[in-house]
Structures are given as C-alpha cells and as structure tokens.
C-alpha cells in the first residue's frame, strides 16, 4: 500500500514541478526542455513500479521495471546476440538494400514524366498497404535465416523511400532549372548539383519513416520461422514459456534500437540539410 501512495505522491510532485518549470523563466533553455520529458518518463516508470508492487501483480502478468532491469543486466549476452541477428543483420542490411534500390529506381523513372505519373499514385497506394503480410511468403522463399528478414525489410522500406524521392526530385522550380541551363549544365550536373540537394529533405523524410518499418519487418518476419536467436523469436517463445521479464527486456532493446536508429537518421539529416529553413536557428 505504501508503494502505491509513494507512486501517486511522486506523480503529483513531478507534475507540479514540471508545471512550474514549464511556466518559469528558464522554459526556453535546453536543460529544462530535456528535463521535463525525462521527468515525465521517470514518473511513468515509478507509477508502473508502484502499481505492480502495491497491488501485488504477479510477475508472470506484468513484471516491475526493476525486475526487467535485473533480467536485462543478467542476460546481456542473449540480448546482444538477438540484437545482432535482428537489427544488424536483418533490419540494417534490408534497410540499406531497400533504400539504395528505391533511390536508383526513383532516379531512373524520374527521367520519364509518363512513368512518374503512373508510378507515383501506385507507390502511394502500396505504401499504405499492410505489406507486412508478405512476411510468410518471403520466409518461404529465402529460408529461415536473416536473408528472408532482410527481404521483408527491403519490400517494406522500398515504397515510402521511392515515393518521397520521386516527389523530392520534382521540387525544383522552373527558375532554378533555367539557371542551371544558362550555366550549360547537363542532366548529370543538374541532378547532382541542384535536384538531389533539393530532394534531400524529402529523401530523409522517407528514410525516417523507413527506420521504424525496418524494425517492424525484421521482428514480424521472425514470428514465421527463424534460427533459435533473434528478437522476434525470443519474444514469441518467451510469451509461450512465461519468461515475461526477458520479453520486456527484449522490448526495451527494441525500443532503444528503434529510437537510436531514428535518432541516427535524424542526426544525419541535420548534418546534411543544415541549409533547409526547418533547421535554421531563429
């Protein structure tokens, strides 16, 4: 009972602190802008811990964060092996292949207005489809190991990146293209010096969408058969064998991998498209 009360008091206290911080003079500073969401996240974990302990929830149903952290620390070797299998081999290689393929296709079809007009609506439609369902077919074609996971990821990330790249390549206006022509720039020069840089914000938008899709694809494909390692494999067998704390540790790894992957792409975007208005400091 005291745990429950402590969690609730902590919640109210943290909320009051956040409220006063958000309305204080320092609300624009970097420290406060980071501190407030961190405090919010910590509050959620404290509430979770307090409820699990206070209400005596069985660890088979919902383990407390402290239990999960303990399992995490005790099984880093398993988690690392699964991370390598799913994220590094499956998701990352699929992401790179899919992005390069989408990129090449976009540049090829961009030369023909006819193709662009035909492919853009279809690509937009396909990007909205539940492509994830193709996983069992590809696992059947490419076998159980990471190659089939990479194949699922390739198909999933291909269309969002393709559509965004094609759209980005059309971003330059007639004035800019005319300027390039007065410089006697050929197709390749115009592409590299004008149109690709102008397309970069769109390309990165596609890449950011694709980071999440890549992890989803790699994990779901493992539900349909995998060697005895991998995050999806561990999660589905962990649920079956009631080692729920290990499943939550895997989920924590998946969450951190997803956030780090997204953060990496977002960081690259800031470095590469620093000239874009959305990144300028006021």
């Amino acid at each position: 009972m005291s745990w429950l009360v402590f969690a609730l008091v902590f919640w109210i206290g943290a909320w009051a602190l956040n409220a006063s911080l958000a309305n204080s003079r320092w609300r624009g500073t970097i420290g406060v802008r980071v501190l407030i969401p961190v405090l919010f996240g910590v509050t959620l974990i404290v509430l979770w811990e307090g409820f699990v302990r206070g209400l005596g929830v069985s660890p088979v149903i919902l383990p407390a964060p402290s239990t999960v952290a303990g399992t995490f620390a005790a099984s880093t070797d398993i988690l690392w092996e699964d991370f390598r299998q799913t994220v590094l081999k499956g998701a990352l290689s699929g992401f790179v292949i899919g992005a390069l393929a989408a990129f090449a296709t976009a540049i090829l079809i961009d030369r023909s207005t006819f193709l662009t007009r035909g492919l853009l609506p279809i690509g937009n439609f396909v990007a909205a489809l539940p492509i994830i369902g193709i996983a069992p077919i590809l696992v059947n074609w490419f076998g159980f190991d990471w190659q089939s996971k990479a194949a699922v990821v390739v198909v999933m990330v291909f269309f969002p990146i393709l559509v965004n790249t094609v759209q980005g390549l059309r971003e330059t206006d007639a004035m800019q293209r005319d300027l390039m022509r007065t410089y006697a720039a050929g197709y390749l020069d115009t592409l590299i010096k004008l149109r690709l840089p102008a397309a970069l914000p769109f390309i990165f938008n596609g890449l950011k969408i694709a980071t999440t899709l890549a992890l989803i694809g790699a994990i779901v494909a493992e539900y349909f058969g995998s060697p005895t390692r991998g995050m999806g494999f561990r999660i589905s067998t962990g649920v079956g064998s009631l080692s729920i704390d290990l499943v939550w540790a895997e989920i924590a790894v998946a969450a951190m991998a997803g956030t780090a992957f997204y953060g990496l792409v977002a960081w690259m975007e800031r470095r590469v498209t620093f000239w874009h208005p959305s990144h300028r400091r006021n």
Binding site: R117, P130, G133, I134, P136, V220, V239
Partner: protein
C-alpha cells in the same frame, strides 16, 4: 484523371513482370509434379535438380514450363490464380448464401474491419484529446510531445504479443480488444501531429479578432480552431486508418489467432497453401483501398460544405 493512362501502363508492366517471374519461381515445383506424373524430366533425380539453377532447369525442360502456371501449391501464383481464389472465397460463397461462413474472406475481412474501426475510433479520440491538451497546456506540450515521437520509433510488433497476453490475463475474452489497442497505438500519432498543426493554424490576427468579439475560450475553439483544423484532420485520418489496418493485421499475426485476414495469412503459412495467403493479402489491400477512398470522399464533401475546396 489524366493519370489513368500512365497508371494502367505501369499496372500492365507489373503484371507482365509478374507472369515472367512465375516461370523460374515455379519450375522446380512443375518438374516435381511432372516427374510424379511419369513424364520425362531432365535431370531425372530430384536431388540433381535441387543443385541446378532455375534457369538451367528451364532450358533443359522447355515443355514443362507451362505446368508452372497451373500448380496447386505454387511458390508464386499467377495473378489469375490469385483472382480465382479471391473470387472463390468471397463472391462465389456470397452467391451461394454462405458469405459469413468461416472459410469466406468476407467473414475474416469483417472481423479485421471491426477491430480496425474500433482501433481507429480509439486512436482518433486519443490523438484529438492529446492535441487539444498539447495546444492549450504548455506542460503537456513539453512533457508529452517528445514521448509521442519516441513512441512511434518503438516497434509495436515487439509489444503486440505482450498486449495480447496481458489483456487475456486481465480477463478480456477474445482478440478484439488487444487488436484494437495495437491499431490505436499506430493510429493515434498521425492524428495527434495533424491536429496540433491544424489547431495552431489560425493566425494571431484571427485569434485577436475573436478576442475583440469577447469570445470565450470554448467559443474560440469551436468557431475558429476546430474548423481551421479540418483539412489537417482529414489528411491525418487517411494515414491513420491505413495505419490502424496494419496494426490489426499485426495483432492477428502472432500465434493463436483464428479469425481475421492476418490469421488467414498465418494459417495459410502453417498449412502450406500459398494461394490462401495471397488471397488474404489482396483482400487486405482492397480493404485498405476502400477505407482510404471512403475517407477521401468524406473529406471532399465536408470541406466543400464548409466552403474550403479540397
């Protein structure tokens, strides 16, 4: 409408590619069937065939390529086979009055549609409530917004089996609720982001005008902010419903589901009936197309009635 011709051309090109791919994909299966039927196959031993590439097998057995286009369990079915299977499990069953039979994709599509709509409703309400809180409260904005973004970088599929286990432990029967929660999780974010943008879209001049009318906060919300957010809302709803459908199908994929399009895919995988998987996939695609088109129609009608051309 001037895009119709290019779209058709691309679709025809895709169909041709598909047909061309069927031959090498299915040559091994075709040769196995021909071998069992007593026909002469080069090489005759299945193990020797296993070691040769599909192209060499096709060169050696040109007569049996055609067989690959009519296999019962093809690695890659032809579009016509998929369309046949789709018709057999939807239209034909409906004509025979068994539209809601457990073998009909209409029944499974209905199960999926229900969860999708519940998840969509839940996600939309959550997203709109979150957006209103974010626009009106600085604390919520600063503490919730970063986590909303982080929540979308977390692969929900990792959580999906946990959500299903948790809800069954809490005593919720069936798959409906957990599936709806998963699709709400995927669906709320586009709505939240779109609504925040939309509710903030009225300029300072417009807000000031309402203040000179001495409009209350509620009135300013109902008469200015909410109408101004409608175009943003519909755009996000179209993304949201597609995401909700993906969520439902992901919720149906982990082991144990019996009904729903995702479960059909899973069962087709377990029983080795690729045609069932392909038919379920296309049914899901058609469902997504219908839902997005309906929302697009609603958007056009609403915006025209409000005097904003879409």
């Amino acid at each position: 409408m001037r895009n119709i011709l290019p779209i058709l051309a691309v679709l025809v090109a895709l169909a041709v590619l598909w047909y061309a791919a069927v031959a090498p994909m299915n040559i091994r299966g075709a040769l196995d069937v021909a071998d069992r039927g007593g026909a002469e196959v080069i090489p005759a031993e299945p193990r020797d065939r296993f070691e040769q590439s599909a192209w060499r097998l096709m060169m050696a057995n040109p007569d049996h390529i055609a067989l690959g286009y009519s296999l019962d369990r093809p690695r890659l079915p032809t579009p016509v086979q998929v369309a046949d299977e789709l018709w057999n499990t939807t239209g034909e069953m409906a004509l025979r009055g068994r539209a809601m039979s457990k073998r009909s994709l209409i029944y499974h599509g209905w199960i999926t549609l229900q969860s999708t709509l519940w998840g969509f409703a839940l996600g939309t309400v959550l997203g709109m409530a979150g957006a209103i809180a974010i626009v009106y409260s600085r604390v919520v904005d600063m503490s919730l917004m970063p986590w909303a973004i982080i929540s979308q970088t977390v692969p929900i599929v990792a959580l999906a089996p946990m959500i299903i286990v948790l809800s069954s432990q809490v005593g919720i029967e069936g798959r409906g609720v957990p599936k709806a929660i998963i699709s709400a999780y995927l669906c709320y974010f586009p709505v939240l982001v779109g609504m925040v943008k939309g509710l903030r879209s009225p300029g300072a001049a417009q807000l000031d005008l309402l203040r000179t009318y001495s409009a209350s906060g509620v009135q300013a919300f109902l008469k200015l902010r909410l109408p101004a957010s409608m175009p943003y809302l519909f755009t996000s709803l179209k993304i949201g419903i597609a995401a909700a459908l993906v969520g439902t199908i992901v919720g149906e994929l982990p082991t144990g589901a019996i009904s729903g399009l995702g479960a059909r895919i899973l069962i087709g995988d377990q029983f080795g009936t690729p045609l069932a998987i392909w038919a379920a996939l296309f049914a899901a695609a058609i469902l997504a197309g219908i839902l997005v088109t309906l929302l697009d129609l609603m958007q056009r009608i609403t915006l025209r009635r409000m005097g904003m051309q879409a």
